[in-house]
């Protein structure tokens, strides 16, 4: 199911390249509509809100809040020893835009809805995975 390192990396596309590689420059790059200025995820060549085709990656703050989570206890991938937290985080720029991610540097029992998190990049081969960790007070 996974590569020799025990994980499954993304197949990078023309639309998703900015998302998967921005982390090498410490940037969370999310598609944004130039017509109505909404953010869009996953990246695709049109804005689902206003249907403008004038869309492309912009740099987001990397700040987000936990919208929902599940504490995974099953060993799906060797690179992800359980327990770990799978979370949907909503961007501070637009809470209606969510990223599914994995929380790191985080006690699994301390996670809650609304918790402030920030992006941290995990470089793997040709991609930098945007993971999130709790914002230190």
């Amino acid at each position: 199911m996974a590569d020799p390192e025990g994980r499954m990396l993304p197949e990078v596309t023309a639309e998703s390249r900015a998302f998967w590689t921005g982390g090498f420059e410490q940037e969370l790059r999310i598609y944004r509509c130039q017509a109505c200025r909404s953010w869009i995820h996953p990246p695709v060549g049109a804005c689902w809100r206003c249907r403008s085709r004038d869309v492309g990656p912009e740099v987001a703050s990397g700040r987000a809040k936990v919208a929902a989570y599940s504490i995974n206890h099953h060993p799906w991938f060797p690179a992800f020893p359980p327990p770990y937290v799978v979370a949907a985080v909503e961007l501070d720029e637009d809470p209606s835009v969510r990223l599914t991610t994995c929380l790191v540097d985080c006690d699994v029992d301390q996670v809650e809805v609304g918790m402030a998190v920030e992006v941290v990049f995990d470089e793997q081969d040709d991609v930098a995975l945007p993971l999130f960790r709790p914002v230190m007070a």
Partner: protein, 393 residues
Amino acid sequence: MTFVEDRAVITGVGQSQIGRRIGRTGIDLALEAAERAVAHAGLTFDDIDGIASYPGPVAAEGGFVGATTHDVRDAFGLRTTWHVSGVETSGQIGTMLDAAAAVASGRATHVLCFRSVWEATAQAAGRAAALTGKAVRASGHSEFRMPFGAASPANWIGMYAQRYMHEFGLTREQLGKLVINARHNAGLNPQAIYRDPMTMDDYLNARMVSWPFGLYDCDVPADGATAVIVSRREAAGGLANAPISIEAAGAALYERHSWDQRADLTTMASHDAAASMWETTSFTAGDVDFATLYDGFSYLCTQWIEAFGFTEHGKVGPFLDDEENYRLEGRLPINPHGGQLSAGRLHGYGFVHEACVQLWRQAGERQIPKDVELAAVGVGGGPEAGCMLLHLA
């Protein structure tokens, strides 16, 4: 108003042998289910001029595609005027709804609809590893989940369940009552895979898969096929069973087909489908006698309970507290056969089969004791949903 002007009816159903690792192929199971459904309807294969299935020949893990439409029509040498399969549709019953439209519009007279899985056997044989081993990189919708360790629907659906619990106070014990009810019913169903009684301690102490889901909140891979015959009403008289009307159907999806972008994480596509269904019928939720609701995960069943309006949004926890609401002898029996949780992951079609068998009063020991005329069938989870209101007056 009735779905496709009341021109399509269900005339027969059939199931193959069902079990775990029974060592038969998905095609073999599909052929057996088809034979039984055709015979059950009082037809022969010469009468079958249409065929429909889910999902068709898609790339998927071992055993998910038990048999394609072509596999079955070729095996029996069917002469068809209409055939279809598809995965981009309204839940696993999407192409069954298309079959109803096909007979209503004269493109076919009797359509064999089926779903076959042999996941238990195929995965035990290591086929899953062999197949997925080729996909070293995650693509399509998996692209944005797999790289984060979100490998399973247990993770994706677990997040929805967590948010709902956070918003409305639904508890693991309440989910457990639904799981235990399914197991109790399965004990009365000789075709069910798991029939031993389950206690709340069994449920709560089972190993955690992805919180809030423990082992018993998740269905398990099964081997089995289900077939349903959809016929044109004028051709259904004098057959073996009284024709079941498809009173209404719902197939709506009002948001993107996504597992994490739905505006309200405490609803699912089930809510869109059910709302669109109720717009087409004069029946209301209060008229429904029983329901068969997709429970690939326990939480998905709670979403259908809400989506159909059997309780208000946010109130499914209190609904589950009172077994009188959903037990076999109660007000609205749910999943008399044990659902996918206990009767096996037949992937959607099992719920249609059970609704028909109950309406025909052919369910044996698990037959709902009260009179039943109107069944709600809800199939799918997350962004997948299709539903029907089946009526036998």
